[in-house]
Amino acid sequence: MLRASVLERFALAVVSTLLALLIGSVIVWATGYDAVEFVTSLLYGAVGNLSNVAFTLRQSTMLILTGVAVAVAFRAGVFNIGVQGQFVVGGFATALTILFLAPLLPGGPVGGVVLMVLGTITAIVAGGAYGALPGLMKAYADANEVITTIMLNFIASGVVYFLIDAYLRPSGTSAPNTESFPDYVDLPGFAFGSGSFSVIGLGVALATALGVYVVMARTSFGYDLVTSGYQESAAAYSGVDPKRTVVTTMTFSGMVAGVAGAMFAIMVLGYYSDPSTFPSFGFDAIAVSLLAANNPLGVIPAGLLFGGLDAGGQYIGFTLDVPSELVDGVIGLIVLFVAAPELFRMSARRFGLGGDDR
C-alpha cells in the first residue's frame, strides 16, 4: 500500500519534471533557440565538472533545508509560505551573533566553531520565533496563514535591509552589506575548492532532513503533527490541541528555516546583505517539498534535482543566449504538474496503464 504510493509519487515527480522540461525545450525551440543545446547545457551546468557539482550541491543544501521546513508545515496541514522570511531572519540572527561575539571570543578554529554553533542556535531561535508569529495569528485570530506569511516575507526583507543599511554597514562603503565574518568563521570546503560550498553544510542539511524524518515518523510529537495535517478532527479526538499544534508546527518549521538561514550566512555568504538580492529558496522550497510529497527524506532527491536545475540554469545564463528566467518558468511548470496527480492518473488510465475504471 505504502510502497505503491511512494512509487506513484516518484513516477509523478519524474513525469512532471520531464514534461516540464519538454515544454521548456519546446518553448526554447519555438522562440528560435537551440533546444538540444539548452538541455545539454542544463546538464553540463549541473554536473559537468567539479565546480558545477559544487554549485549544484550548494543550492541543494539550501533547498533541502528550506524544503524540509516547508514539508514540516505542509505535513501538518499548515501552509507556511513564509519560509523565505524565516530563513532571512534566521540568517540575520546568525550574522548578528557572529559579528557581535567575534571580538569577545578568541579567534582561530575553536572560536570559529563556537561562533558558528552559537550563530546556528540563534538562527534556529529567531527562525522559530518568526514562524511562531503567523502560527499565533492563525491559531488565536483566525488570520489566514497563506496571507500572513507572505506579508511577513516582505516585512522581513524590508526590516533586515533597513537594519543593515542603517546600523551594520561598515563606514566607507555604500553597499548594504555587513562586514565580512572573520576568516576563521568558515566551513571547510574539503574536496570542493569552492568558497561557498562545504560538505559540512550538505551534511547539516542531510542530518536535518533525517532528524526531521525521525521526528515525524517515530515520535508521538510527529504523529500529532501529521495527524493534524491529515484530519484535524481525528487529531483533536486523540488529544491534540489544534491551536497549540498550529503554533508548534509553525515554530518547528521556522526553526528548520532558521538552520537554512545560518548555513546561508556562514557557508554561502560569509557576511549578510540586502535580502531582496537573495535567491528565493523559500519559494522554490515549496516546489521541492511538493515534489517530495512533503516527505522530509523525499526532499533530499527533490532538493538535488532543483539544485541541479538552478546550477544548470545559471550556466545557461552565461553560455547561451537563452534567458535564465526560462528555468524559473520550468520550475513553475513542474509545481503545476505535481499539483495535479489526477491528470496523470487519468491519462494513464486512458492509455490503459492500469487503474480501475470508475
Binding site: 546538464l43 538580492t277 553560455t319
Partner: protein, 345 residues
C-alpha cells in the same frame, strides 16, 4: 559531456589578448539586471561599442542574486572555453565576493564598476554620482525660478519647489539626494526640495505617484535616481505638464518619448569607462586601465547634459551656473556632501 576539457588544465595564457586573437570579455549584471536603462545597460553599451571596433567576443551574464556572485565569478574565471581575458562586474554587490576571487584567480583580470579592491588584477571604476547629482541640483535650482515652456509643459517661476525621486532608501541613493539638495541650495537657499523613495527599482507606478505628489506640492522639476522605475517620473511630468531630470544616460535620447519633459540628465559615462578598459585589454595596456579610478567632473566622466529637445530653450544662466559650480567643485571651493560611493552615516 566531458568534451569541454575537464578541470585538470588550469594554466592560463595571460598574455593572450594582444592584437592577434579574439578577446573574450564577460560582463555580469548587478542585481537590478540588464534592461535597467541605467548603469547595467550603459556598461554593456560601452563593451558593445568596443566589440564593433575590435575583435571582441562578448558574453553577457545576468545574475540578480547577490549570493551567487561568488560562484558566477569563479565559474567565469575558471572557464576554459572561452578563456575570458576580462570579466566586468557591475555594481558594488560584487565587491565582497571579488575580495576572495581576485586573490584566488590572480591571473584573471577584473573590472569592478562602482567600487574598488586593491589588487593588481582589478580595475575599479567609480563614477562620482554625488558630483553629477550636485550638478542636477544646480540645473533644477536654476530653472525653478525661471520661465520655461515647451509643448504645453511649463514650470512655475514663482514657486520655489523641486523634487527628488529615489529608488531604494540607502547609502547609495542618499548620496544622489543630498548632493542634489546641496546643488539646489548652491543656486538658491530658498528652494524647497521634496524627497520620496520608491523602495525598489522596478515599480514605475509608485515612482509616478511619488512624482505626481511632488508636482502637486508645487515642484516643477523632479530629478529621478531610480533606474528602471524612473520612467514613471517622466510619465508623471507629462501628466502634470512639468519637467524632470534624467539620470545615468541622456534619457532624452534613450527615452525619446519623454524628450518633451526632460530638461537634462545627470550622466555618467560608464560606457566610456568600459570601452576604455576593453580597449586596454585588446591593446595590452592593462597597467594603464587597472587600479582605482574615481571619475568625476574633473575627468568629464560625469556631467549634466541638457535635453535634446528642450536644451536649446534653457536660458544661458543654466550653462553658466553649471560651468561655475563644476569649476568650484573641481577646484575644491565647494564640497559636495557624501562621496562617489555613497553617504556614510
Amino acid at each position: 559531456l566531458t568534451g569541454d576539457g575537464g578541470d585538470g588544465d588550469t594554466e592560463t595564457d595571460t598574455t593572450d589578448g594582444g592584437e592577434g586573437g579574439t578577446t573574450n570579455i564577460a560582463i555580469v549584471s548587478s542585481s537590478a539586471g540588464f534592461g535597467d536603462r541605467a548603469f547595467n545597460d550603459l556598461a554593456l553599451e560601452g563593451l558593445e561599442n568596443a566589440a564593433e571596433e575590435y575583435d571582441i567576443e562578448l558574453q553577457q551574464v545576468e545574475e540578480t542574486n547577490q549570493s551567487n556572485y561568488g560562484t558566477v565569478q569563479s565559474r567565469l574565471a575558471e572557464s576554459q572555453n572561452p578563456d575570458y581575458d576580462l570579466i566586468v562586474l557591475v555594481g558594488y554587490q560584487h565587491t565582497q565576493a571579488l575580495e576572495t576571487n581576485a586573490e584566488e584567480y590572480s591571473d584573471q583580470r577584473w573590472m569592478l564598476i562602482n567600487d574598488h579592491i586593491e589588487r593588481p588584477n582589478v580595475g575599479g571604476y567609480i563614477w562620482a554620482n554625488h558630483e553629477m547629482s550636485f550638478q542636477a541640483g544646480v540645473l533644477a535650482g536654476t530653472m525653478t525660478t525661471r520661465e520655461l515652456t515647451h509643448e504645453g509643459n511649463s514650470n512655475d517661476p514663482d514657486g520655489t519647489t523641486v523634487g527628488f525621486v529615489g529608488g531604494v532608501d540607502g547609502a547609495l541613493i542618499n548620496a544622489f539626494e543630498r548632493a542634489y539638495v546641496a546643488g539646489v541650495e548652491w543656486v538658491n537657499k530658498d528652494v524647497d526640495v521634496r524627497v520620496g523613495y520608491i523602495g525598489n527599482y522596478e515599480d514605475t507606478q509608485t515612482a509616478a505617484n511619488i512624482a505626481s505628489s511632488q508636482y502637486d506640492a508645487g515642484a516643477d522639476i523632479v530629478y529621478q535616481a531610480a533606474a528602471a522605475a524612473g520612467q514613471g517620473v517622466f510619465q508623471a511630468a507629462q501628466e502634470a505638464n512639468r519637467f524632470a531630470i534624467g539620470v545615468d544616460a541622456d534619457q532624452s535620447v534613450t527615452l525619446p518619448d519623454y524628450q518633451d519633459v526632460i530638461i537634462g540628465s545627470a550622466i555618467k559615462r560608464i560606457n566610456e569607462g568600459t570601452y576604455r578598459v576593453a580597449e586596454g585589454i585588446v591593446q595590452d595596456n592593462w597597467d594603464e586601465v587597472s587600479g582605482r579610478n574615481v571619475l568625476g567632473l574633473d575627468q568629464d566622466a560625469v556631467a549634466v547634459v541638457l535635453g535634446q529637445a528642450i536644451g536649446s530653450k534653457l536660458p544661458d544662466a543654466v550653462s553658466q551656473n553649471l560651468e561655475e559650480s563644476k569649476q568650484a567643485i573641481v577646484d575644491g571651493d565647494v564640497t559636495v556632501p557624501c562621496t562617489a560611493a555613497g553617504c556614510q552615516d
